[in-house]
């Protein structure tokens, strides 16, 4: 919402400065987005008179002027073709900053002739793009006067960011009322001059009648015929106002409706009465009906939209935009003036559906003052009669003013108990009445019955009244009070589950993966490679087809990010993300997942290390580390080889606790990498953080007692020949199970296939650690355990001890 300072002062009698006004507006919740004060920028420019103009002795196209600035006569060299004696123009002295060319004038010598300042073009003053010559002012322009004052450019334009609730401040008057209530002046009555809203007596009945067929969409319509008008340009003061806020003056009749729209947030429309056939009918649009609007566009309407029609066709889209056919033109002599109330929701929906932004829609979808419809028509009538002449008919009123009167209770302590500010009763009453609220009564306990003014449809309850009082008194006056604490020390803010997510995140970063945050959505074609998305997770209005479904897995975005990093010249990628993967649209249909990828070299080239590409075991290690950090019982997990299809079928696995999948890991399927255009090798994992079981309720903080043996552990190595398909896990489990009390650990230190090992066989070398607890092991005991291990492994795998 834009307006000028002088426009504000039409309604507000004030001595306040521009800065005071803009500060107060923001403090009132009418946030000032910008102030364009041309008077500051144009301050150095004065009206001047060219006394003489002679040809420059050394340049054909330059003239040497003597300029009367009002205080002195100065010699100025000028290149403008229209520079001549007798011209009145705009002069800038040395030291002036020229906004249009971004320079500061210096005294100069041009081809040997001294020049003391400049006569300016419109472009140099940023008034327009014109630069063909210097500005020419009328002969009666006062020499020495401020050009900004003379040209009416001294009126600062204020732009406020209006919140959707403040329909009343979509007009200058509402803004003035707020400022007056906040002590910045007095609101002028609507009685004099251009504010005069005194009813005009009609001198004839309106030939055009109004019928409302859609009272839901338009509860009240006020109209009036005005005949014998002469439409032409509107007066300068009105044009200045409209131009200042960015509206193009069109003709007096159109400008007057625009002026009232911005002045009191009362949109009006003027039909050329001669083009309206039969009478005005307010009805719902017919299916497929079309309207050629004033903006030159043609709209196809539907029955949810209210139209203003005549007996032939729709002439305007109710509350949004007028039609071209029946609009006023320079030749209009009889007009029909309209002011109506429309259902705000219908206006908003129709405007949104058709994509029409208009000053009328802006106000009517917020809601206009239901009690000021007639007032708006009367003010416009007075202006039309004054500017365009003619005579007015009686008013035509269809429908009725919607009920708006209501009273709310404000308890005496409520401003303090909700707002935190202790304000005296009188001050509260004064603020409310200055805003137009009425005090309808006071109850025994001091509660006020407060009548809400017609223009404040946004005020519904006591909290709104508290806000009005607080707002006008200033939010600055609210004391900052510390939040009270129940206990001196606070309890932990995170649940165990939340802590586990945080721990997994930091553990993965500590392992060398960097955390990414990628979109929760992706392309449906990509999602299809990762198990596809539930149909209920396909966006109805995606921002692009690349982001049209919710992700079923966190991996694809990370894989694509790896590809982008490789394209930038960084092929060794280690990324993870902790976020949701989506199964269904239900509240429990999203899973908290920690997923990560490694691409390129696992060990980079280095003078002391052998480089190698990433593989499934990097991903497995990451998955186990994340699970461990998140509190999963990693020692008890089983590994199965049924990872989903986006993994390499022979180089992937699932970590599970019985039927519960806790993680999947592996190299990504090469054909999926091909489809995504990403170069392998690339290994990834997905840890399902929600599936990790929560520990049983602990009874204390103590850890179980540790038993530290006084005897040295002993390591013994065994090599087994087993079938190629036998899993190492099976061998290790069998070995560990051979003597659970004594065997502390078993691990694989070599796997060999080839010469010396039979076809279809492999040799797996295992190191087993015994930890005696009661006595040093004798040779016989060690031998006996070895035999138990060999027997257990052979039994479990069908293999043999390698000779």
């Amino acid at each position: 919402m834009k307006f000028t300072l002088s426009w504000l002062k039409d309604h507000l009698d004030t001595e306040a400065t521009l800065d005071q006004i803009t500060d107060k507006l923001t403090a009132l919740g009418l946030e000032v987005e910008g102030v364009q004060d041309r008077s500051k920028e144009l301050a150095p420019f004065r009206v001047a008179h060219v006394v003489s103009a002679e040809k420059h002795p050394d340049a054909d196209k330059l003239r040497v002027l003597v300029v009367d600035t009002g205080t002195e006569k100065l010699q100025v060299v000028c290149g403008a073709p229209n520079a001549r004696a007798g011209l009145k123009g705009v002069f800038a002295a040395e030291g002036a900053y020229i906004p249009g060319s971004d320079i500061t004038l210096k005294k100069g010598v041009i081809r040997g002739v001294e020049s003391n300042g400049m006569m300016c073009s419109k472009r140099e003053l940023k008034l327009s793009d014109e630069h063909d010559g210097i500005i020419e002012l009328p002969e009666d322009a006062p020499v020495g006067a401020s050009f900004a004052d003379y040209a009416g450019l001294n009126d600062p334009v204020i732009d406020i960011n209006l919140t959707p609730d403040r329909a009343d401040c979509a007009g200058v008057r509402g803004i003035a009322r707020d400022l007056a209530a906040a002590g910045l002046g007095r609101l002028k009555p609507l009685t004099e001059g251009r504010l005069n809203a005194t009813p005009v007596a009609g001198s004839f009945p309106s030939p055009l009648g109004v019928t409302i067929e859609a009272l839901d969409g338009c509860p009240m319509y006020v109209g009036r015929t005005i005949r014998g008008v002469k439409n032409g340009p509107s007066p300068q003061w009105m044009q200045d106002k409209l131009l200042a806020i960015g509206l193009r003056p069109i003709s007096a009749l159109v400008d007057i409706t625009n002026y009232i729209t911005f002045d009191v947030a009362r949109p009006l429309h003027a039909f050329d009465a001669d083009k309206v056939q039969g009478g005005i009918v307010v009805r719902m649009a017919r299916e497929g009906e079309s309207l050629k609007a004033l903006n030159g566009k043609e709209y196809t309407l539907d029955p949810s939209m209210v139209v203003i029609a005549d007996h032939a066709r729709a002439e305007a889209l109710g509350g949004i935009i007028g039609g071209e056919e029946s609009g006023c033109t320079e030749t209009t002599t009889t007009l029909f003036l309209e002011a109506a109330i429309f259902d705000t929701v219908r206006v908003a929906q129709a405007g949104r559906r058709l994509g029409v932004e208009s000053d009328a829609r802006y106000r009517l979808e917020r809601g206009v003052d239901p009690a000021a419809v007639v007032e708006g028509v009367e003010r416009a009538t007075r202006l039309i009669l004054e500017i365009c002449g003619g005579e007015a008919s009686d008013l035509v009123i269809a429908g009725a003013e919607p009920a708006w009167k209501r009273a709310l209770t404000l308890r005496p302590g409520r401003v303090k108990s909700l707002g935190g500010v202790d304000l005296p009763h009188d001050r509260q009453v004064r603020i409310l009445t200055d805003l137009g609220f009425t005090i309808e009564g006071e109850e025994d306990d001091g509660s006020l019955r407060v009548g809400v003014p017609s223009w404040r449809a946004d005020v519904h309850g006591e909290a709104d009244l508290v806000e009005e009082v607080l707002r006008v008194n200033g939010f600055d006056a609210i004391p900052a009070t510390p939040l009270p604490r129940d206990t001196v020390l606070t309890r932990p803010a995170l649940t165990l589950k939340q802590r586990r997510v945080a721990a997994a995140r930091r553990a993965l970063a500590a392992r060398g993966l960097s955390e990414a945050v990628t979109w929760s959505f992706l392309a449906s074609a990509t999602a299809a490679l990762f198990g596809a998305s539930h149909e209920g997770l396909r966006l109805v209005n995606p921002i692009s087809s690349d982001l049209d479904v919710m992700r079923p897995s966190v991996l694809p975005n990370l894989i694509q990010a790896a590809g982008r990093n490789a394209d930038r010249g960084y092929p060794d990628v280690r990324l993870f993300e902790v976020g949701a993967a989506f199964r269904t649209p239900a509240p429990d249909g999203q899973d908290s997942v920690a997923a990560g990828i490694r691409a390129g070299a696992a060990v980079p080239r280095h003078w002391s290390e052998k480089t190698r590409p990433v593989d499934v075991f990097d991903a497995k290690a990451d998955a186990l580390a994340a699970l461990e950090a998140a509190g999963a019982p990693t020692a008890n997990l089983q590994v199965t080889t049924d990872a989903p299809g986006w993994y390499h079928p022979g180089r992937s696995g699932v970590l599970r606790l019985g039927p519960t999948v806790m993680a999947r890991f592996g190299e990504i399927h090469p054909s999926i990498l091909d489809t995504l255009g990403v170069k392998g090798p690339l290994a990834g994992f997905e840890v399902m953080l929600d599936t990790i079981p929560l520990p049983k309720k602990k009874t204390g903080t103590a850890k179980p007692m540790v038993q530290l043996s006084a005897f040295q552990p002993i390591e013994r190595d065994f090599a087994f020949l087993v079938g190629q398909g036998v899993e190492a896990d099976k061998i290790l489990r069998a070995a560990k199970g051979a003597d659970k009390a004594l065997i502390k650990d078993a691990t694989v230190f070599d796997v060999y296939q080839g010469a010396g090992v039979g076809e279809g066989q492999k040799s797996v070398a295992v190191s087993v650690t015994y930890q005696p607890t009661t006595a040093t092991l004798t040779d016989e005991a060690i031998e006996a355990i070895g035999q138990k291990i060999v027997a257990a492994v052979i039994k479990a795998t069908g293999g043999s001890l390698r000779g």
């Binding site: 403090a27 919140t163 705000t344 908003a348 929906q349 949104r352 979808e365 917020r366 909700l418 707002g419 935190g420 500010v421 909290a463 806000e467 607080l470 707002r471 600055d476 609210i478 900052a480 009070t481 939040l483 009270p484 606070t490 932990p492 803010a493 995170l494 649940t495 939340q498 945080a502 930091r506 553990a507 970063a509 500590a510 060398g512 960097s514 955390e515 990414a516 945050v517 990628t518 929760s520 959505f521 997770l537 966006l539 109805v540 921002i543 982001l547 919710m550 990370l558 982008r564 990093n565 930038r568 960084y570 949701a580 649209p585 509240p587 999203q590 060990v603 280095h606 002391s608 290390e609």
Partner: protein, 355 residues
């Protein structure tokens, strides 16, 4: 004669080039068949007086040679160590073995910082789903159907499910609703999370993060809201005298409502936070609207409180001088390395929040 032997043995000791040679000298002199040992054996054939004299002389010689041997042994060991160390010399300017340390994304770090501060004020962390229905995202939050404020949210919609209009939450405020529906006051929570709006340009991304705060009890008023946010902003931005400005504003779910600006200075494309006279908007807040309390089954005549919400990326950008919002979601390793945080930097009030 013993003098000559002594000189000879001492010169042999000094001439021994290494430990084995030295040992040979020892055996020759002091071993079972050594020369001094040989003289010792001859003592038995002497008269008592001679034996005494000769014995003393031999013992002295033996001690002297033994001492010389020990001294030489130390010298040789030192020389040997010196040679070994010289042979083991490496070029210590070579680069160390590669180790990688990952980074925590600035969004996570910023959220952790916020949680650390709010935890000190007695808030706990609540979460809710990204996929919501319009009851939780709008209706319960007092957005009337057709109200222009719904338009302003640029909502992403999903297909209707069970007669419910499904959408991606446009703010974290539905977590307020879920929390109030499931818990009795007093309530004091913050809810960080992903939010979505259909907007993509220099300063908007279709997904971003917010943190929501909610306090409900019988006595919390707007002064507490102010106190809470003043303390939060000063701690978070690490500026002790950071000024805050509360401006009246409008949100359907709060009444009164305010937007909060912090003091700043804009100069030459740089932004500095502090008491400099200029202002920068950072969050919205207000007293929870009675209609919201009632929609969530809380008696609005008994309970009241405040709510606030702010953009996580926005405050992270301000605090850490990150220039472009869109870069947060590009997973560019160079960016993550530069703007990310080392994993052991766990925000904590006791250690200080800002690195």
């Amino acid at each position: 004669m013993l003098d000559a032997l002594k000189d000879e043995l001492l010169s042999l000791v000094n001439a021994a080039a290494d430990l084995p040679a030295l040992d040979e000298v020892r055996v020759n002199a002091l071993g079972k068949k050594g020369r001094i040992t040989g003289f010792m054996k001859e003592l038995g054939g002497l008269s008592p007086d001679e034996r005494k004299e000769r014995g003393q002389a031999l013992n002295a010689l033996k001690d002297e040679i033994a001492a010389a041997l020990d001294a030489r042994k130390l010298d040789l060991a030192a020389a040997h160590m010196k040679a070994r160390l010289e042979a083991e010399r490496v070029d210590v300017t070579l680069p160390v073995r590669p180790e990688t340390e990952g980074r925590i994304h600035p969004i996570s770090q910023t959220m952790d910082e916020m949680i650390a501060i709010f935890a000190e004020m007695g808030f706990s962390v609540a979460e809710g789903p990204d996929v919501e229905d319009d009851f939780h995202n709008f209706t319960a939050l007092n957005f009337p159907v057709g109200h222009p404020a719904r338009d302003m949210h640029d909502t992403f919609y999903l297909p209707d499910a069970d007669d419910k209009k499904m959408l991606l939450r446009t703010h974290t405020s539905p977590v307020q609703v879920r929390t109030m529906l499931n818990n009795k006051p007093p309530i004091r929570i913050v809810a960080p999370g992903r939010t979505y709006r259909s907007d993509y340009d220099m300063t908007h991304t279709p997904m971003f993060h917010q943190i929501e705060g909610l306090v409900i009890d019988e006595a919390t008023n707007m002064g507490h809201l102010k106190g809470c946010l003043v303390e939060f902003c000063r701690a978070f931005f690490d500026v002790d005298d950071l000024p805050l400005r509360f401006r009246p504003s409008f949100f359907p779910f709060t009444e009164p409502s305010a937007e909060v600006d912090i003091g700043c200075l804009r100069k030459g494309g740089e932004l500095k936070l502090g008491n400099y006279g200029d202002w920068l908007e950072i969050l919205g807040c207000g007293m929870v609207h009675p209609n919201v309390l009632e929609a969530c089954g809380i008696d609005s005549t008994k309970y009241q409180g405040f709510a606030f919400g702010m953009g996580v990326e926005r405050v992270a950008m301000l605090k850490y001088g990150i220039p472009d919002l869109r870069t947060f979601f590009e997973a560019d390793l160079r960016w993550l390395k530069h703007y990310g945080f080392v994993p052991l930097d766990i925000p904590n009030i006791a250690h200080g929040l800002t690195r």
